[in-house]
Every structure is written in structure tokens, then in C-alpha cells.
Symmetry: C2
Subunit: 231 residues, 2 copies
DNA sequence: ACCTGAACACCGTTCAAGT
DNA sequence: ACCTGAACACCGTTCAAGT
């Protein structure tokens, strides 16, 4: 993945699409989202900034490729495995996507800033359609349901990442919850009584447990709670 | 809202927080998200760029204020009106938020780029808790459900806006669907058979009708489909 | 075909004035 | 207290070379 040297050599062929994406991710993790600039990536690769324009038409295309790489890190084999109940496979997908993306806070903007039409995003969508089909939905509702799932997962991650963004590695869950709790405790109970009273639950939105709860509600919504019973 | 001239005059007091937010929105609508820069806003107001730093600590704070303004445009009175069924009020809120935010594509990044902790966002959250409570959920589930709703609405809008972003006014729905349809028709049916077969449904994700469908599934998920029957 | 140097037209932010 | 001019350290992108 790091190199690969495709095509004929020409005068140099120092770079690869994949090498550029790797450098961008490296930079993202080490120095944060703002550091992911054309000039920064080029420096990371030891190359002049404008060299990247041989491989990508503009910065947005680079970011789209980074997003597609992150999405493609999930093993689609696990999603297709018919030995496991479909609901469980959807859980795995959603939870894995979430933790993987929260490992790179700052990547959220790349995921939501452009249509996810990369090859790996398409492959994921295809696999998702198959799984949701097993839930007994017809073609039309299967398509809608898989989109609903994507909306839920990406929406959740976006709202979680918004509270973290600047930091390079997302702090542990307990710490994020504590910070949120402090913010909600500062809400005046006189003007926002319900909010203040729910501060405890609210501060845990940002939690794996709550993410699971929402995920089950979404699945119940399109598959019916009955489906939860027989898994 | 445009001016207001609070506090003592001092040497000038030309600006207001609100005037700055207004100028930013003006710029957003007229020249797109990339034009919303500190320098751009300042030019819009006929002022030196660094003048804005008297009112906001940095650019991120300006963008957060813009996001709060957009959220606050919804009339909370309608949400609290006990004469209408709660489910209908949730629909109104979600649909109004969606169309309002799609009127400003490019605002999505501002909504998802930072925690929504502005005064108007808090007020909306408070009202939402009250409505969801009417659905018969206890305090804990009401908090979770209202967050789920927000995730759905903002997630949907983000994915929709991602396909539009650069354009200043979002093109009409029919045109957006057609563009999406063309993209899906280009998907190779041999590698992605389910995706290609569903191209028709997929291209309509971006549609008010589909948004309603997902919204109902989400509400069914936490309130039970039974609630749909008696409204 | 692929890379470079130099340049263009921008950014956000800071700092030392001025009033 | 509020605004300005000037500067700093950056951006993305383009263009005319060089190999």
C-alpha cells in the first residue's frame, strides 16, 4: 500500500495516490486536521507542493480519497458472513466504523464534506444492501434502510467528533463524558429545567452504550422490534 | 437584529455580534462557504479584518454564532403547542430545520464542526425534551430519543448538503435527484449489482419524501409503531 | 510524463499604535 | 474601549521551465 510504482517510470514516479493518502492520514493523526494541507502532505513526502497535482486534481479530491480509505478499513467479509445473525453484523459494522473514525477525529469533515462515492464506499453500500435485505425488507425499503443506517452512524460520529476535534487522539470516553457533564452542569436550571435535569443522560450521549441504544432504535424502526427478539 | 448599538459608545462601536453574524450569512448565501472568511466579513462590513476580534475570539466562534442563528430561526412556539399531536410537531420541526438549512448549503460544516451549545440550540433542545416526553418516554429515554432525532436530522442534512455544497442556492430537488441518478447509473452493475438495481431509490435519498420516511422510522424506533396509529 | 521554482491571490491572527 | 496599518506565517493553485 505504501508504494507500488504503477505504470511506466517516466523521469521519476516518486509518488502514488495511496502514498499521498497515507501521508495525509499520518499528518492528520500526528498534527490534527488543520495540518492536512497540500503543502504539509508534500513536505511529509519530501516533494514540492505542486507535485501532488499530478495525482489529484485538487485538495478536495485528496480528502475524498482519505475518506474512502477510512471507510474501506472495515472488513466486508465479516458483514457478509451468513453464519451470524444480520442484526449482529449490523451492530459490528456500526460499532467498528464508529471506533475507527473516532480514532481519527478531524476526519469527520472529510467524510461529510463530499459525497461518498469512492470505490470502497460503494463496496460497503453494496454489502449493506445485502445484509438489510436479509431483514426481510423489499428492494425499495432495503435501500432506504441502509441509507438510514449510514445517516445514523455518520451523524452520531459527527456530533461526537464536534466535541473533540482539535485534539489529535480522541481522549478516552470517561474524560469526554466528564467534560460534557461539566458543560451541562453549567446550564441554568431556571431557564432550561429539563436540560439541566437530564444533564446526566445528556453527558453520556457521547458513549458507546448510547450509540448502541440509538442503533437499536433505528433498526427497530425499519425492521420492527419483533426482529430484535429472534435476534 | 441588524444593529442595536449596545453599551457605551467609546470611540466608535460600529459593530455588533449580530451584525457580524448577519454579514457572514449574507456572504455565505451570496458567495458560498469558502467566502466566509474573517477578511471577507470585515470587507462586507466596511471595517478592517482585525476589528472582528473585539467581538469574537476567533473565526471558529463566529461560525458557531452563525450556526446558532440558523438553529434559532425555528419558532419554538409551534413546537410547544399542545393542541397538535406531538408526532406532527416533531415532523414540522425536522422538516423546517431541513429546508431552512438546505437553503444555506455550506452552513452544514458550521453546524457539525463544533458542539451546538449556543443559547438557541439549548432552547431547542429544551423544547424537544418536552415534546418527546409527551410520547410517554421516561426522562432517560426522552433525553436519548431527542438526541437520536437531532442526529438523524443533522446527519441527513449533512449527507444531502455534501452533494451540493459548492453551489450557493441549493438547486431544486428534481435537479439534485437527476444528478444523483446519473451518478448511480454509472455504477457498474457487474461489481455492484444491488446498488445498480436500487439506483432509482438511491437517487431519491435526497428527497423530502425519503426524509419523512426515515424520520418516521426513527420515531417508531423510540416510540413504537403503535404511536403512529393514534398519531 | 513527472517534478520544480517562483509567483499570485489569498488566508487567520497578532501587535503596536492611534483616538 | 474600539479601530487601524502593517506584518507574520501560512494557504491552494497555476505556470513556465527543466529532465
Amino acid at each position: 500500500m505504501t508504494t507500488a510504482q504503477r505504470g511506466r517510470p517516466g523521469p521519476r514516479r516518486t509518488l502514488t495516490d495511496e502514498a499521498i493518502v497515507t501521508a495525509a492520514l499520518e499528518l492528520l493523526d500526528r498534527r490534527g486536521a488543520d495540518a492536512v494541507s497540500i503543502r504539509g502532505i508534500a513536505a511529509e513526502l519530501g516533494v514540492a507542493p505542486n507535485a501532488l497535482y499530478t495525482y489529484f486534481p485538487d485538495k478536495a479530491a485528496v480528502l475524498r480519497a482519505v475518506a474512502d480509505r477510512l471507510i474501506g478499513e472495515y472488513d466486508l467479509g465479516a458483514l457478509a458472513n451468513p453464519a451470524r445473525p444480520w442484526r449482529q453484523r449490523l451492530h459490528d459494522l456500526a460499532l467498528s466504523l464508529r471506533s475507527r473514525l473516532l480514532d481519527h477525529p478531524g476526519a469527520t469533515a472529510m467524510l461529510l464534506g463530499a459525497p461518498m462515492d469512492g470505490p470502497r464506499a460503494l463496496a460497503l453500500g453494496e454489502a449493506l444492501l445485502a445484509v438489510v435485505g436479509e431483514a426481510g425488507l423489499d428492494e425499495r425499503d432495503a435501500a432506504r434502510a441502509s441509507y438510514l443506517l449510514i445517516v445514523y452512524v455518520l451523524g452520531s460520529i459527527a456530533l461526537e467528533a464536534a466535541e473533540v476535534e482539535p485534539t489529535r487522539p480522541a481522549p478516552p470516553e470517561a474524560q469526554r463524558v466528564a467534560a460534557r457533564k461539566a458543560a451541562f452542569d453549567a446550564v441554568p436550571a431556571t431557564t432550561y429545567p429539563l436540560t439541566a435535569a437530564s444533564a446526566d443522560v445528556m453527558s453520556r450521549y457521547i458513549t458507546t452504550e448510547q450509540f448502541r441504544w440509538g442503533l437499536d432504535r433505528v433498526i427497530d424502526g425499519f425492521a420492527g422490534p419483533a426482529a430484535a427478539a429472534h435476534q
